[in-house]
Subunit: 375 residues, 2 copies
């Protein structure tokens, strides 16, 4: 099997599994317990926060570990709003459902919500986001890398200007698709909150984080319980998953500088093997992109049979977001982009474990599949 669905989830790195192992056996204590084993688990949680925070630059960041990116996004959005102050919330129309859904909920609670439309190239104009923000804006949420089509949004430019004009507006960035793939220190230098997810960077499922810049207003908890995670996120910490998240972040930091050229080589190998196919063309490549993420526009060929035919050839790819895959409705991203009804998009997402040979085979397989299906 050649696994090219790394935007949905990634295989656990063997070193991550090794980092988790002790906390799945002897080190099983509750990190809130006062006894020695509990204190050791708590110290590991604190230690794991360091490499996780470092993915987003110097901050300084307070790390709030959550169950994953969806919960971190919800905490950043819902936790930043105070009911009764009906004010503006700005986002884009191509965010993850965990942003759009919770922004919509703020709308139901009285906020004025603005979803900035994407450009035809699959990103957004920084100026359009900046202009949507006014003095009453309580929160802006921008994704860095789009999970369905792999485009980058102009986070640095938009957030710098928004914070310069409106220092009290909170700015949140969903960096789930780019953390560990791109250096983020400059990108996130004016941002108040950042969402990360371990399982998108060869860490385990069950661990995400909301980074909150020290000095920025902290979000209100989504629900109440014990005193864990500075009172912002109650519940027994998922100690093994957090250990794995720390290890994955550390590994990502070590490989990040070599990732860009590797991904370039992988993408080139795939494109060459795929060749020119009018029914299947690389898309949304005008601007900067998530390294290793290839979006392909299908014309006259629906995505689902392509995905299954690719799997029959031992190549795992996907269309759109896994979070919505069971729904028959069209992806909101493709809707917002105004894709014609007879067009669809599939994604090929490599990782540092992918080889040039994998990509060559995948490109050839797709070429054959499209030849079969596009007749």
């Amino acid at each position: 099997m050649i696994y090219l669905d790394n935007a949905a989830t990634t295989p656990l790195h063997p070193e991550v599994a090794r980092a988790m192992a002790p906390w799945l056996s002897e080190g099983f204590a509750n990190a809130s317990s006062l006894h020695g084993p509990g204190v050791e688990a708590a110290a590991m949680v604190d230690a794991a926060a360091l490499p996780v925070a470092a993915l987003a630059g110097p901050g300084p960041w307070e790390v709030v570990f959550t169950s994953g990116g969806t919960e971190a996004n919800a905490l950043g959005i819902l936790g930043s709003f105070r009911r009764g102050r009906a004010r503006r919330v700005v986002t884009t129309a191509i965010e993850h459902p965990s942003i759009l859904g919770n922004v919509a909920r703020l709308g139901e609670m009285g906020a004025e919500t603005i979803r900035v439309a994407p450009t035809p190239a699959g990103s957004v104009d920084a100026a359009a986001v900046i202009d949507a923000v006014d003095a009453s804006t309580v929160l802006v949420s921008l994704m860095h890398g789009n999970n369905e089509i792999g485009t980058l949004l102009p986070v640095e430019e938009a957030c710098r200007e928004i914070k310069a004009r409106h220092p009290s507006t909170l700015v949140h960035v969903d960096a789930v698709q780019t953390a560990g793939r791109l250096p983020l220190a400059t990108t996130l230098s004016s941002v108040d909150m950042v969402t990360l997810s371990a399982h998108k960077m060869h860490g385990p499922k069950g661990a995400g984080a909301l980074l909150v810049r020290r000095g920025s207003r902290r979000p209100t908890p989504l629900y109440r319980g014990g005193d864990q995670q500075a009172g912002i996120r109650p519940g027994t910490e998922n100690v093994p998953a957090i250990a794995g998240f720390g290890a994955a972040a550390r590994l990502a930091a070590q490989t990040i500088s070599s990732l860009a050229p590797l991904m370039q080589a992988l993408e080139a190998a795939f494109m060459e093997a795929l060749g020119e196919r009018p029914a299947c063309t690389p898309a949304f490549r005008e601007g900067p992109r998530v390294p290793g993420h290839i979006a392909l526009r299908l014309i006259g060929v629906p995505a689902e049979p392509v995905i299954h035919a690719m799997e029959a050839r031992s190549v795992i790819i996907s269309s759109g977001s896994a979070c919505h895959s069971r729904s028959s409705a069209r992806s909101h991203v493709l809707e917002a982009l105004g894709l014609p009804a007879d067009e669809d998009v599939i994604r090929i997402a490599a990782s540092h474990e992918t080889t040039v040979e994998d990509m060559r085979k995948a490109g050839e397989a797709l070429r054959a599949v499209i030849s079969d299906l596009a007749r």
Copy 2:
């Protein structure tokens, strides 16, 4: 080390670790993905729901996997309330903080909240709970086993009568401390929602569940995102932890009938070794209890030095709830019970991995520690 803090968390059973292993390696796919590996992960999640639901009896139950017991409690409480209908919510004063905190939040949202006071024996009167419920009551939440003092609450009697009188009142039970330790089918036969936690039954951290009886009103999600868990709990499923939860539930079902006599033997060995100590006496033993959970009342000796002295003798015990251990405030349970200021409570919580010899040593160690400290 003799670990007797199994009410805070339990060691992972080796068979649970084995059940998780494939999902931490080859089986890493996103359970929402349409491709084969994704469908396999989704099928495992569905399969794991069966033994988890079976812990609570025939139901039939819809299983909503969460990140743990705290989130499941929050979902049951917050998700059952509709703003604008200021109605009554009934619970007890000795619930877990994830119940009391979220009930308090409903109070801030306009609900009339009633916290039934405990009896001196550390339980509640079923009649007091039943009488607190009126026709306007939207929700009742009762814990089955208390996490700090090990008492059982009269869930069966109270819930049966409440549902008979007020069929539209939702009844939620936090069974985190008793699931897998006691057969629950009869106890929960009139209940709408049940909270379970994997890591209290030798499963992994990062997996809990809210069981919702089919036909009962489903809770509103705490936050929005993808379509996972029937839309009630968005976010990529923690596939390995859910696999572990299923295995832990299956193992618990196999050992549950032999647990009661084993726990009796363990408790007896501990009591005999401890002997009679006026400064340290078994407490809250008048009524039914969580098997293997011993609460000890300390008179004139604070809990914290006892816990540390026990650890120096290689026995891990605790006081109160791990979820509040970092706070210097006194436990709300001991407050509600009106414990005098010079008294404290420690808990000894065994598991099926504990031996009679462990308990004998622990009792002797505590006897020596109390002799040292109570002078």
